[in-house]
Amino acid sequence: MNALLDALAGTGRSALALCQAAGQLALFGLAGLFHVLRPPFYGRMVLRSMLDIGYFSLPVVALTAIFTGMVLALQSYTGFARFSAEGAIANLVVLSITRELGPVLAGLMVAGRAGAAMAAELGTMRVTDQIDALGTLSTNPMKYLVVPRLIAGTIALPLLVVIADILGVLGGFIIATLKLGFNSATYLRNTLDFLETDDVVSGLVKAAVFGFIIALMGCFNGYNSRGGAQGVGAATTSAVVSASVLILAFDYVLTELFFSR
């Protein structure tokens, strides 16, 4: 009986802690959005974060996209081969990449790279009093550290996804033409014929949301980290895990919004 009560109490405590964290996160996000609109603005910091998030993530995202496109073409060929549906393969590759895999995979990769780095940097700044020091030097740490990252994340991820889309389709094209022997002009025409603006735009909107989520989770966990090196480690892990889970959850929500109308 007691064991049961203990288990219940433990569950209750975790649930309460989760609610509290969700509330804090919501307040943090709102504070971030509020400060986006009010000066001073730190353009240099936005550019620096854009480099960190966008430019330095290019190689990882590019490789991921190319291989994903190649695998998609190969896998679908084994499935569609009997119908010899060249059009179907081009269709499947381009739609999967632009609608789903481009934004989601880029989001997950960037969460692992840039989100973790943000949490570690802000966490270290927190535990070494650097965030407090900003406050004593007439600088609002929310504006100086958090807002530029939120902006940069929201802008950089769609840009990355444009590149991922192109490279993903290219990966499929390479396999289709070089390995499966499809006619390259036909494959390209099929790709473009099937593609609609909505597919690309919905993918880019997803990417913007994912970019915001990655930056928000990186900043939130880093900004509120406690307790030395271990606390920074925990903040980093939790930034990556929570951003990844939220990306997949929001992917569902956004897909529902875009395509079930």
């Binding site: 070494t128 020091a133 004593t136 007439s138 600088t139």
Partner: protein, 255 residues
């Protein structure tokens, strides 16, 4: 005369741990006060409350006789902008070179244009005995003593009317400690600032302070001129300044 800085009945608890239990402190304009007290006695928390980094549970903080709680946000920030702080571990921004650290507050306030900031930072670095070439280094490339100097330079760059020093000599050898103390005294005199320094180094306390106060169990239990630190006649202060194991202070080994 109204004191430059006055704290009354300041209380702060973390969970059920009462760190500050009604601190009263007055610092007259142009003088310097050292606050002594054991590790974990809440000295840093006291400074952070005054600076506004920690929200106190209760108590009044006055600068120039004005209660900060009675001001709106902007006016309060303006009052607090007169405070410069040297953090316990330097808290230098390791993503920025030394000169940008030093010029940070000036740039943030728009007190100096970006192209003049470098020259200005070098002048401040010279005041703490550092060569202009140090400006290009990253804080992580500096020794402990140099980091303290850069932290000091950053704190004084905007020529604040009030300066806080949190354990400026902790972790330094005695000679470097004396040098840093000397720099602090010089800077405070030259700018005519009011200073509050935290320390548990007696030599440092007597070099920096005009007055001294002892923080113990969340209260100021003694205050007098700093030269009386070693013959205070107060049992708590005596045990602390002479480093005796026996006495009224029970070191907290458990929380």
């Amino acid at each position: 005369m109204t004191p430059k800085l006055r704290v009354r009945g300041l209380r702060k608890a973390f969970g059920d741990k009462q760190v500050l239990a009604g601190v009263d402190l007055e610092v007259a304009a142009g003088t310097s006060m050292v606050v002594i007290g054991g590790s974990g006695s809440g000295k840093s928390v006291l400074l952070k409350c005054i600076i506004g980094l920690i929200e106190p549970d209760e108590g009044v903080i006055e600068i120039d006789g004005t209660d900060l709680a009675g001001l709106d946000r902007d006016a309060r920030e303006a009052k607090r902008a007169q405070i410069g702080m040297l953090f316990q571990n330097g808290a230098l921004f390791d993503s920025l070179p030394v000169w940008e650290n030093v010029a940070f507050g000036l740039l943030a306030r728009g007190a100096v244009a970006r192209r003049e900031a470098r020259a200005r930072a070098e002048r401040v670095l010279a005041q703490v005995g550092l060569a202009a070439s140090v400006g290009d280094l990253s804080p992580s490339e500096l020794s402990g003593g140099m980091q303290k100097r850069v932290g000091l330079a950053r704190a004084i760059a905007a020529e604040p009317a009030i300066m806080f020093f949190d354990e400026p000599t902790t972790g330094l050898d005695p000679i470097m400690g004396a040098i840093i103390d000397g720099l602090i005294v010089d800077c405070v005199r030259r700018l005519g600032s009011t200073a509050v320094a935290i320390t548990h180094d007696m030599a440092s306390a007597r070099r920096i302070g005009d007055h001294a106060a002892m923080l113990h169990q969340g209260r100021i239990v003694w205050t007098d001129r700093a030269e009386h630190l070693l013959d205070s006649g107060n049992a708590v202060v005596d045990q602390f300044t002479h480093g005796r194991r026996e006495g009224p202070i029970q070191m907290e080994l458990r929380r």
